[in-house]
Amino acid sequence: MPWSTVFDNVLLPLRLARRAGPAERERTAAEIRSVGLTGFEQAYPRQLSGGMRMRVSIARALVTDPDLLLLDEPFAALDEITRMALNDDLMRLWDSRRPTVVFVTHSVFESVYLSTRIAVMTPRPGRIVADLPIELAQPRGRDLRTSPHYATLCATVSRHLAKAMAAGIR
């Protein structure tokens, strides 16, 4: 919401649930800290970069401590550097509370880096044509991006994706 501060934006789900007491405010502040936006609590969205706004959205989604998180191309509009940083932060946040995350992306590299399981879909109609387990150790760090094993997995997913796209076009 462009008219509210970062703090009020993150507090929104709790406020809508009519739970906005001191405990919830404390929790909101903690959530803003956990996505690395300390000091920006009273900033307005237009003063933030695209990546920071996305962090606010994530904090808002996490503030209710959900068991399931649905993310539909959350980082699509961001540049590569910001995207990688947010990938790492998302992994860290996931690791600390382990919700189930359904993450839609158009990036093969992002999918392999983040997932434990990848479903490849065809365009129009959207059907799942491949279900690939990704058995990479947790926690995953920066080194993974350059490892040969990661490259092989990316190649496999790319192959399935190319097949799915071809099926969709026909």
């Binding site: 462009p2 649930a17 237009r46």
Partner: protein, 271 residues
Amino acid sequence: MTPRPAMKQTRARLWRIAAPLAVGGVVLALWETIVWVEGVPPYILPGPVLIAETLWIDGPSLLGSLLVTLRITLAALAAAAIIGGGIALLFSLSRVLALSLFPYAVILQVTPIVAIAPLIIIWVRQPFLALLVCAWIVAFFPVVANTTVGLNSADRNLLALFRLYGASRGQILRYLKLPTALPYFLAGLRISGGLALIGAVVAEFVAGTGGTETGLAFRILEAGYRLAIPRLFAALFLLSVTGIVIYLLLDALSRLLLRHWHESAIEEEEE
């Protein structure tokens, strides 16, 4: 040497004030010269100097009349803001109400106020109230129309988010629709500010000597009958200054309320 950005900005701001002032000065000088050279009599067209003198002499009594007109204008504007906003709110809450009543709001708006002012003055006995109603009829529509659009322009994604979190209708209104509508409401109010003044003047024209107190419009009428054209111009000048001041105040209010987030209120790109 190229000017530094800060200097450039100061210069741009200076131009914004100096350029219109210069144009005004040239026009006034030209006006005075023509009146002087051609020997135009003051009861046809008085020169700016004579008007300024009249303004100085008649100032106190004109100011008293201005106060009367201003009271009507501000009361009508306040009523337009409150009742207009209320009507828009009702429209957004009930589609049936909006569909059935909006045409009548339009009818009220398009009917010339001069045509219905005599009726209102007959029906509403109290003169101040009668003039207030006339000015309000002219002024309320922009607020209703703009605010209605604003209340219906909530971001679809945000609306979906609110629904997802199980927000009640009241919560959606308070946390989403009202903030979204605020810039629209303020834009409507800025238009209404000028219209309220026009409405008050027109109503005074129609009312003639509406009661013991006489507004600025009646003074204009009176000056016209007496061929006291310099006084007419002086009253006219006061009227337009009042209009400008009302506009500037509403503009400042709008900037103040929207300064944190709305594009319209952001001066220049930071950094």
